[in-house]
C-alpha cells in the first residue's frame, strides 16, 4: 500500500488522526521531529479542545488573537466560502458544535435543540493574521485546518530538501512526485469496499463524511452554521485541488452549497454522495466511479 519504489515511511498519531508520510528514502530523525513540531505548533494556535490554545481567549470573552502567517490564507478562504454558502460554512460553528455536545470534554451530550452560530458581522473580524471579536466566540477551523496542516508539512518537507512525498493525515492527503498514486474512495456505508478509484499526482485529495462521526440521535459534525442543524442531505464528499487547504475546505463546503456555486471561484474536481446514495461528480472523474 505504498507508492512504488518508495521505501521511506513515517507514521504517527497527531491531532486525533493517523498520519503517514511516504518518501523515496527514510526521513532523518531530525526531520521527523520538525514535522511533529509543525503539527504541534498549529494545534497550539487553533485547537478548540485545549484551554491553553491561542484562540481559547476568544471563547472566554473575546479579544484579539495574532495568528502565524498561514492564518491569512485560512481566514480569506473561510470568508469566501462563508459568502458562497450564504453563511452555512463559518469558523464560528464551534459554538453550535459545543452546544450539541462535541465539546472539549467530548461530552457528546446535547445541551438543547440546535442553535445557529454567531453571525460573522462587524463584531467579528478576521483580517490578515489578526482576529478580533467583541464577544465570546468558539472558533472551529476543523473544516480546513487539517488540510492546511497537510500543506504546511508538505511545504516544510520541500524546504528541508525532500520535494517528493505524500503527506496523508487520515485520508486527507497531498502528493508531490513523478508517480501517480491510485486512491480508493471508501464507500460511506461499507468501509471494506470502495466506490471508485482516483489518480493523484501533484495535487491534494481530501474527504469529508457525516455518517461515521456520529453521536446521540444521529448528530454529526457537519453543521449549517445558519441553523446549527446537522446537514443530512449529503453523506460523503471528495475534492481534488491543487492544495489540501482548498480541498479540505471545499469537501465541507460541498455539504452546504452545490458544486456549480463553488466552481465559480475555485478549480477542483469532486465526488458528492447524497444520503440516498446518488453520486454527483465532475466530468473529469467520470471514469473514476465503479
Amino acid at each position: 500500500m505504498s507508492p512504488a519504489g518508495w521505501s521511506g515511511q513515517f507514521s504517527f498519531d497527531a491531532i486525533g488522526t493517523s498520519w503517514r508520510i511516504d518518501t523515496p528514502g527514510e526521513l532523518p530523525p531530525e526531520i521527523r521531529d520538525d514535522v511533529e513540531d509543525v503539527i504541534r505548533d498549529y494545534d497550539a494556535v487553533y485547537s478548540r479542545f485545549r484551554s491553553d490554545s491561542r484562540i481559547a481567549v476568544l471563547a472566554s470573552g473575546g479579544g484579539e488573537v495574532n495568528l502565524p502567517p498561514s492564518g491569512e490564507a485560512l481566514g480569506t478562504l473561510y470568508r469566501t466560502l462563508h459568502r458562497l454558502t450564504r453563511g452555512g460554512m463559518s469558523p464560528l460553528v464551534g459554538g453550535p458544535l459545543e452546544h450539541l455536545g462535541y465539546d472539549a470534554g467530548y461530552s457528546f451530550t446535547p445541551q438543547g435543540p440546535p442553535m445557529p452560530a454567531a453571525a460573522w458581522d462587524e463584531s467579528f473580524q478576521w483580517l490578515g493574521t489578526t482576529i478580533r471579536s467583541r464577544r465570546p466566540v468558539t472558533l472551529d477551523v476543523g473544516a480546513a485546518g487539517k488540510g492546511q496542516l497537510v500543506d504546511l508539512v508538505s511545504e516544510y518537507l520541500h524546504r528541508a530538501g525532500h520535494p517528493h512525498h505524500t503527506v496523508d493525515a487520515g485520508g486527507d492527503m497531498r502528493h508531490c512526485g513523478p508517480d501517480t498514486l491510485r486512491i480508493a474512495l471508501e464507500h460511506p456505508y461499507a468501509p471494506d469496499t470502495a466506490i471508485g478509484v482516483v489518480d493523484l499526482r501533484d495535487r491534494a485529495l481530501c474527504a469529508s463524511a457525516s455518517n461515521r462521526r456520529r453521536w446521540a440521535d444521529g448528530l454529526h459534525h457537519v453543521l449549517d452554521a445558519t441553523t446549527g442543524h446537522c446537514v443530512d442531505t449529503v453523506v460523503a464528499t471528495w475534492v481534488l485541488a491543487d492544495d489540501a487547504l482548498v480541498a479540505d475546505a471545499l469537501a465541507t463546503a460541498l455539504f452546504l452549497a452545490p458544486p456549480e456555486v463553488l466552481l465559480t471561484e475555485f478549480d477542483f474536481d469532486y465526488v458528492r454522495i447524497s444520503s440516498e446514495g446518488q453520486a454527483l461528480y465532475s466530468s473529469s472523474l467520470a471514469g473514476a466511479l465503479f
Partner: protein, 158 residues
C-alpha cells in the same frame, strides 16, 4: 434590458435542463412505490439491476434506454453546444453524461469546469479486489473522535 433575439437558443438549453430535473423528481416520487412484478421494489440498487425491466417506463411512463440531445446557447463568442445523454432504467434516471462541444477556448474552459455527471446509485467493490496505493474516506478520519466514543460506550456499559 432584454435581448429578445438571443432568447430562443437560451430557452432551448433551459428547457432541456428543466426536462432533466422533471425526470429526476418524477423518478424520486415513484421510487418508494414497489413496481408490479419487480422483486426488490423500485427503491433497490438501480445500477445493479442486471435485467432490464420488460415493461420499461415504470410508473413515470418513460421508456428505458439511453437518450441523447444537444442543447445550444449563445455566448459572446458565438453559438455553443453541449450534448447530454440520459440513461433510464425502470423509469429512473440512472446516469447522466454531458459532452462538452466547445468551439473556442473560453467555452472549453467553462464547459469543462461545469460539466458533471450523476450516478443514481453508488456501487461498492471490495477493497481486497483493488490494486490501490491508499484509501480516502471517513473510517480513517478522526481517530480521537472514535476513541472518545468507544470510551463512552465502555463507560456507559459498566
Amino acid at each position: 434590458m432584454t435581448h429578445a433575439v438571443k432568447k430562443p437558443h437560451q430557452r432551448w438549453a433551459l428547457t432541456g435542463l428543466a426536462a432533466l430535473s422533471l425526470l429526476g423528481s418524477a423518478a424520486c416520487a415513484a421510487s418508494p412505490t414497489p413496481s408490479p412484478g419487480a422483486g426488490g421494489g423500485a427503491g433497490g440498487d438501480a445500477a445493479n439491476a442486471a435485467e432490464p425491466t420488460s415493461g420499461a417506463g415504470g410508473e413515470a411512463g418513460y421508456t428505458d434506454g439511453m437518450f441523447s440531445a444537444t442543447g445550444s446557447y449563445q455566448t459572446p463568442g458565438g453559438e455553443e453546444s453541449i450534448g447530454v445523454t440520459v440513461t433510464l432504467e425502470s423509469g429512473i434516471v440512472s446516469d447522466v453524461q454531458t459532452e462538452p462541444m466547445p468551439s473556442n477556448g473560453t467555452t472549453e474552459l467553462y464547459q469543462g469546469k461545469f460539466s458533471s455527471g450523476i450516478r443514481e446509485q453508488i456501487v461498492g467493490t471490495p477493497l481486497d479486489d483493488l490494486s490501490v496505493d491508499k484509501v480516502s474516506g471517513s473510517s480513517l478520519t478522526s481517530g480521537g473522535f472514535r476513541t472518545a466514543i468507544e470510551q463512552i460506550k465502555t463507560e456507559a456499559a459498566q
